[in-house]
């Protein structure tokens, strides 16, 4: 070959890839720090942080512990979170084995229904439980009129914990399902070959392999229990049971009446440290989980266990469980939205009405909250996906010097409870000059949501990214492409399915979010979640269920379209 080599133009003065590395890193840092800094500062100030004469103090913590009933609040939170986790793990793991590995009739659609609760906010779930199993709930009344006594009390810590646990069980289920169905079939075959029966092989080989999934989701659910607002607010409110989140919520919302910024900041810090510790613990427990690595090169599906004559008995049991804890909850919400009053004593078709929906659609505020929710989920989801993809590419696929720190920073929001993220951004907007511009707009909500769900998006993209061999990037670099061209022309196109999944997940999370928004919205920027919170507080159950119904329908349509048109993988 003669010297026909095409010479490249000289190296550019400013490397555009480097600009992007630093841009992404700085933006991520600003996003993570902006809710944190004001809370930490506030916790050590004796006056609201926007006042210029505020001085340093430790008194906030002292006052917090002196506050009557504070110890009780912490114990409540702990008990509630432990119960949430325990219920979620037990039901999630058992369902994973049954759905994933047995020939239970209808296991396909039962598995589908079982993950429904993940698509909607636990505010909707809580309201559904309230409608069906609350003190004057449909099923409660029906049972009482039948056996004479009220068999359960939802307005107790135990009741709350069970409901929260059942609404979080799908999370444990999905993670365990991955572990039991992707397990190397040869491992069980090996157990069979040394003399174990099919049940023994499952019990002794595959079930222990769920351990990392179980530990991981256990800590996740514990954290969710600690930072959950809706269920303690709905069920604990009437009976005066408080958890840290409802305490923060009440104090924060009532700030206008009695400014208790200091105590709120102090409580927020304690909550933050607790959650951060748990997330660290999760990482610590997951160390050395390599010995449970179940997914190996060759994909062969493990065999299905024959339940034999127990098949239909188990089906009846599982179906009853799914019917009573999921189908009935959703049915209750739909039903309640279409009647004036829901009671087992009068047939519901005699109480049918469209008044609830009319009320929603005739009010500019309510309609606006629906529009805002859709806009935030759609626009925020797109921006969030682009941002998370950039973070993942810089953190995992670049020569950026601070790639690893960037990943840690980006995953930090896992340790940031929604209520604190909301509170922090609320302080930041008040505190930092200039941020007033986005105060009370949907943009501040979008910003807070994106920050909060970076880890969720990252979790959708990172595994797909590690499937793309890095010699594909190297090949592009050596062929003459710089980093930006390489990721945009080679890596991102291959990553397209994961990007769609990331977008779908962010959309769903943004659409159902309410906690983070509780402190940030103002008239004009309300979303479905915040409007529902207000309506619940006023006891307007009809419009609440109408709004919840609308939320569920929009979500269902979106999930259907995302799976069909985008091929997005959302929860299985």
């Amino acid at each position: 070959m003669t010297d026909l080599s095409v010479q490249r133009e000289g190296m550019p003065v400013i490397d555009r890839s480097r600009l992007i590395f630093w841009g992404v890193a700085i933006l991520t840092a600003v996003l993570v720090i902006s809710p944190l800094a004001p809370i930490i500062v506030q916790a050590f100030l004796d006056r609201p942080l926007y006042m210029s004469d505020a001085g340093l103090t430790l008194d906030n913590f002292a006052r917090l512990f002196r506050e009557a009933g504070m110890l009780g609040i912490f114990l409540n939170t702990l008990y509630f979170a432990v119960l949430t986790m325990a219920v979620a793990q037990v039901f999630g793991a058992v369902m994973a084995v049954i759905i994933g590995r047995t020939n239970l009739p209808g296991r396909q659609w039962i598995g589908e229904i079982f993950v429904w609760p993940l698509f909607v906010s636990n505010l909707v779930i809580a309201f559904g439980w309230f409608t069906m199993y609350g003190p004057s709930g449909f099923i409660t009344l029906a049972v009482r009129s039948w056996i004479g006594v009220e068999p359960w009390n939802l307005y107790s810590l135990t009741g709350m914990g069970v409901v929260a646990g059942l609404s979080q069980a799908p999370l444990a289920y999905l993670m365990c399902l991955g572990a039991v169905t992707k397990a190397d079939a040869q491992l069980e075959s090996a157990a069979r070959s040394v003399g174990a029966g099919p049940f023994r092989a499952l019990w002794s080989v595959t079930v222990p392999m769920m351990r990392p999934a179980l530990i991981y989701s256990a800590v996740l659910n514990f954290v969710i229990g600690i930072e959950m607002l809706a269920i303690p607010l709905l069920f604990g409110g009437p009976s005066g049971i408080q958890t840290v989140t409802t305490f923060l919520y009440d104090q924060g919302i009532n700030a206008a009446v009695r400014p208790e910024y200091g105590i709120v900041g102090a409580a927020a810090i304690i909550l933050l440290m607790l959650v951060a510790f748990l997330v660290w613990l999760q990482g610590f427990l997951m160390k050395g989980s390599g010995r449970f690595v179940t997914v190996r090169g060759k994909a062969s599906r493990p065999s299905v266990l024959d339940l034999g004559r127990w098949r239909w008995a188990l089906f009846a049991l599982v179906f009853a469980f799914v019917f009573l804890t999921i189908i009935a909850i959703f049915a209750g919400i739909f039903l309640r939205s279409a009647v004036t009053f829901l009671t087992p004593l009068v047939p519901f078709w005699k109480l049918l009405t469209t008044a609830n929906f009319e009320m929603i659609f005739s009010s500019a505020n309510y309609v606006r909250s629906i529009v805002n929710s859709v806009v935030i989920a759609l626009v925020g989801g797109l921006i969030g996906t682009a941002f998370v993809a950039l973070i993942a590419l810089v953190a995992r696929r670049s020569e950026f010097r601070f790639a690893r720190p960037l990943e840690y920073l980006a995953l930090f929001p896992r340790a940031l409870p929604g209520i604190i993220a909301g509170l922090g951004f609320f302080y930041a907007v008040v505190w930092v000059p200039g941020l007033d511009l986005i105060r009370g707009t949907i943009w501040i909500l979008m910003l807070a949501f994106i920050l909060r769900y970076i880890p969720i998006g990252f979790g959708a993209i990172a595994p797909a990214l590690s499937q793309v061999g890095d010699e594909l990037d190297k090949g592009a670099r050596i062929a003459g492409a710089d980093w930006l061209t390489t990721v945009s022309r080679i890596v991102l196109p291959i990553l397209k399915p994961a990007l769609f999944s990331c977008f779908a997940l962010l959309f769903i999370h943004f659409f159902k979010e309410y906690v983070t928004a509780a402190f940030l919205f103002q008239p004009g920027s309300e979303i479905i979640g915040t409007t529902m919170l207000q309506l619940v507080a006023q006891g307007d159950n009809g419009p609440v269920s109408a709004l919840a119904t609308i939320q569920v329908i929009i979500t269902a349509v979106f999930v259907f379209l995302a799976r069909r048109l985008l091929g997005a993988r959302i929860y299985g």
């Binding site: 070959m1 010297d3 026909l4 080599s5 095409v6 010479q7 490249r8 190296m11 061999g469 010699e471 594909l472 190297k474 090949g475 592009a476 670099r477 050596i478 062929a479 003459g480 492409a481 710089d482 061209t485 022309r489 080679i490 196109p493 291959i494």
Partner: protein
């Protein structure tokens, strides 16, 4: 096309020196092979030439262009080196057709559509893959993917072609054909080529020169014939082909020959060589160079034929000489029983260190 010079190249990861003070200069149009066992630093060296990893010290120059210099902290990013690289896994971009894979580097070089199409057609013709231009990589066999990968590395006429074990994913028969084809193509294009492999037969067959590496060090640099017939040390003698090693002590050292006393006291006449300061040494002899003689003479031993292995074209037997087990290779089958073996002095080599003693 210019020559490539690696000058005291060192690549360190933490405390480990993956490449330790390696200096090689590759002439224009030469086919040089980096050969060594896995973990010897050959791929690390290759990737540092490509710019895909950064060396610690030393320098890499191509003609008058400095690609890397530890002293002045010069580092040209891979995309500005104009080097072609074929990966072990081929690294064909799965979302692009064969033609699109080839078009990508040309688009980056802002070539017009007409010229691009010409170049692509030319490169595909070169690797006999013209018919497959519109296929996606997953629709091709391993051998076809390997050809496309080569075409993609050549299509922009790089100043240097790097090949990282490109044949290791092919089956044995295909691999043999592919290496002949590859060498012919390289000679035709006269492109300077650096080839990485752990397969010595492949290295001996295709290379102008071979650089044998072990544990980050360059052990020997020479033509295939030099490497095979005059290994610089016992590692090379052991790694290239195979060698028997007899431990002994230097008794007499002349310019033309040496006399070595083996462990059991037998004396052996050998080629000249160096011993350690205490006189200890190893004598290397290739299995196929040990002769069977009718009666005892100089440098011959009485041995018992042990277990044998039939290797198709040859037979290999284990025998014991001077308390050391040796392998011998013969063209004909040997009956079990005693035999006279002779170790020709000119077929031996004497090294101070035994293999694995570095």
């Amino acid at each position: 096309m210019a020559d490539l010079v690696l000058d005291h190249l060192t690549i360190q990861y933490g405390d480990v020196k993956a490449v330790d003070d390696v200096s090689i200069s590759v002439a224009s149009g030469e086919f040089l092979t980096l050969l060594g066992p896995s973990g010897c630093g050959k791929s690390t060296t290759l990737f540092s030439i490509a710019g895909l990893n950064k060396a610690t010290s030393g320098s890499i120059r191509m003609g008058d262009k400095v690609l890397f210099d530890g002293a002045t902290n010069t580092f040209v990013p891979p995309e500005h080196r104009n080097i072609g690289l074929v990966f072990q896994s081929y690294a064909l971009w799965p979302h692009m057709t064969v033609a699109e894979n080839l078009a990508f580097p040309l688009k980056l070089r802002r070539l017009g559509k007409t010229e691009r199409d010409e170049r692509i057609a030319e490169a595909l013709k070169l690797v006999e893959m013209t018919r497959y231009a519109d296929r996606y990589p997953y629709e091709l066999s391993g051998g076809q993917q390997q050809r496309v990968a080569l075409a993609r590395a050549l299509v922009y006429r790089p100043s240097l072609l790097l090949l990282d074990e490109p044949l290791s994913n092919l089956d044995a028969k295909l691999r043999e054909r592919a290496r002949v084809w590859l060498r012919e193509l390289q000679e035709r294009l006269n492109v300077t080529t650096i080839y990485v492999t752990h397969d010595q037969a492949e290295a001996l067959a295709v290379s102008d020169r071979i650089a044998v590496m072990s544990m980050g060090h360059l052990r020997q640099l020479g033509t295939p014939k030099e490497i095979y017939e005059r290994p610089a040390d016992s590692f090379v003698a052991d790694f290239i082909g195979s060698s028997n090693f007899l431990a002994g002590r230097m008794v007499q050292q002349e310019a033309s020959h040496a006399v070595v006393e083996l462990k059991n006291g037998t004396r052996l006449r050998t080629a000249p060589g160096q011993a350690r300061s205490d006189g200890s040494l190893v004598v290397a002899i290739r299995p196929e160079r040990i002769e069977i003689v009718p009666e005892l003479c100089e440098n011959s031993f009485l041995a018992e034929i042990g277990t044998g292995t039939y290797l198709g074209s040859i037979y290999q037997y284990h025998v014991t000489i001077a308390d050391t087990e040796l392998r011998i290779q013969t063209a004909r089958e040997l009956p079990p029983g005693p035999v006279h073996l002779r170790i020709p002095p000119e077929a031996t080599a004497v090294y101070a260190e035994a293999p694995g003693e570095y």
